[in-house]
């Protein structure tokens, strides 16, 4: 059975029954021309939109549909986290190829709903339409934060330390691992591969997949960390790593009008990723710096307020690593130990050219 066999109303109902009961601030929910919500008191609103497109951001041959739903929301939650905002609501806009199976549709909705429930976010409305091409999931997410606690990219100053959460490079290595698996050659093979994906998922831990594959398939937005970094103003600037650490460092440097020097030896490169890149003769540092999809937070901290970081480090749910510092000149550089001295080179650029763009770009 495909989505073309059901009415829109039935499809909407399948989404609705996966959602938590409506919160009391939702005055008019799914089913009218638009949603009506009561604003949160004494908070400003943080709004972001991101789309994931089949063939650009994911490949249905090896990304199970539940992971597609998870990703569609996770990439947006990561943007909220970078602003220090707590998630509140989302609108879910899906363009569906008519051949999409109802089982896969349900699984996409499951992926959205499960992550939404974990972050106490409510889907207040959305849109369903037919796609003549790829499956696309566009989500707009709104969160709230106290006005003085909102984090931006522009608050860094020379002398601030640069930190990153978690590890980098894992998702890129995971994607490379998935891409290297034998690709299905026929429709039947493809269906079998998708069935295997579903079986994998049912086994709780995806036996054949490493932690890196899991990092790619189900990125964990650093929402709790972002909220705590904002709450006591531990961070002076913050952004997320959807387009990689190099892109993030350039982004903070430009917005804050500072330089940044990154210590290559300090980078928390995912061990699986390092092994994967090393085995292929690739420079793990450059690969990890330019890899996207990590969805970690990159942030700066004033040395004199470093103690505030303790609270965020304790309650953010993810390790933090100091990887460099902000400088007064405008150069964004990578410092690598080499032959007993320090080799300083410009930090690679992230993906900036639209045609080569792997992912998408927030406006």
């Amino acid at each position: 059975m495909t989505v073309a066999d059901l009415s829109e109303r039935e499809l909407v109902a399948r989404i609705q029954r996966r959602l938590a009961p409506a919160p009391d601030w939702l005055l008019v929910g799914i089913g009218d021309d638009a949603a009506v919500v009561e604003p949160a008191r004494n908070r400003v609103e943080v709004l972001t939109v991101d789309v994931i497109v089949e063939g650009v951001h994911f490949d249905r041959a090896f990304v199970p549909p539940e992971a597609i739903g998870h990703r569609a929301l996770a990439v947006n939650l990561s943007d909220l986290a970078a602003m220090g905002a707590a998630p509140r609501l989302a609108l879910l806009s899906m363009a569906l190829p008519p051949a999409l199976s109802v089982a896969d549709f349900d699984a996409v909705a499951d992926g959205v709903a499960a992550l939404a429930a974990r972050h106490r976010l409510h889907v207040v409305g959305g849109n369903l339409t037919r796609s003549p091409g790829p499956l696309m999931i566009d989500m707009t997410v709104a969160g709230t934060v106290k006005r003085r606690q909102a984090l931006t990219r522009s608050g860094a100053r020379p002398g601030d330390d640069l930190y990153v959460s978690g590890s980098i490079g894992g998702a890129a290595a995971g994607l490379a691992m998935l891409r290297q698996r034998p690709r299905p050659a026929t429709v039947e093979d493809s269906e079998r591969a998708q069935e295997e994906c579903r079986l994998d998922r049912d086994l709780t831990s995806v036996s054949s997949a490493s932690a890196a594959v899991e990092r790619y398939l189900r990125p964990e937005p650093r929402v709790l960390l972002g909220v705590h970094l904002g709450r006591n103003r531990a961070a002076s600037a913050c952004m997320d790593l959807s387009d990689g650490l190099a892109d993030g460092a350039h982004g903070i440097a430009e917005a804050s009008d500072v330089g940044i020097a990154i210590d290559a030896a300090a980078l928390p490169i995912d061990p699986d990723a390092r092994a994967w890149f090393d085995a292929r003769g690739q420079d793990a540092i450059v690969e990890a710096l330019t890899a996207g999809d990590d969805y970690e937070l990159l942030f700066t901290v004033r040395p004199r307020t470093r103690r505030r970081l303790l609270e965020a480090a304790r309650r953010g749910g993810v390790p933090l690593t100091r990887i460099g510092r902000c400088t007064a000149d405008r150069a964004v550089v990578l410092q690598r130990p080499r032959d007993g001295s320090i080799d300083v080179s410009p930090l690679p650029q992230g993906f900036t050219h639209f045609a080569r763009l792997k992912g998408s770009r927030s406006v």
Copy 2:
């Protein structure tokens, strides 16, 4: 030159320079991970999302790019209007085929920006991504309304009168007219046709196009009417006609738990549309009832508060027509005069089946 020749940053800058200066409630705008806005005081927030997809909602062979941008925003403003809300902000998410010309990209942005400026709506953020298939424009729009002035579909009662704004059927006839024009057979023909579209647009009044074509190409959301219908609670229920009047009548009837009887003779069918359908031996009433894309408002009014309608009628900027009434039974019927008596038949259903869906459906 195509969008693939530019960096995302350049594309974003091309959008930004078309926008009005940022309003003071916009604390963080385009360029960070997310937008930060100060909520409007003493208002609830109205949120809606709608996408338009090439090959589903528009055909680039005969819809000029500026009209595509106009439509992407108009369909959302129409949803806000149906809730009685004043537009405030939008997020613009575009999936761009790499072959899209920069001139067309600019024109799409022009179409969005021009309509946004007329309704004092500010684009606070968005997303750009590559599309491996169709051009898609997904917009999320937020408006504000006083809590007691929000209109829903569910407030109609038996005895209420049913009204529609403007006229119906015009956009469907306009689309049929456009479709009947000779289609370009080659890429060169297509480029010439698009060039002609651009020339047409430059001539202010599109000489070869009738008013019906204009109705299809540049629907006018009834924002002012919606706001006035809400402001003095002139309407007891309201929805917009994105999927046609028949669909709207069923929608209000179901949400309000009433029946509806529509007087066929009273329907304000667009004269061009009537002539077009008559000339082809089609039933103009059925065609106009089931036609989409009109973006008029369908609303109900309590007879005892009918005087409140005067203000909305005077200031709403569009004629209003009483076309029927709400009934205590649950039947939704069409009353047609025939041979001196009244023929009563079930109102046609709108498009409800996903596979046959012409447009998209708000969740």
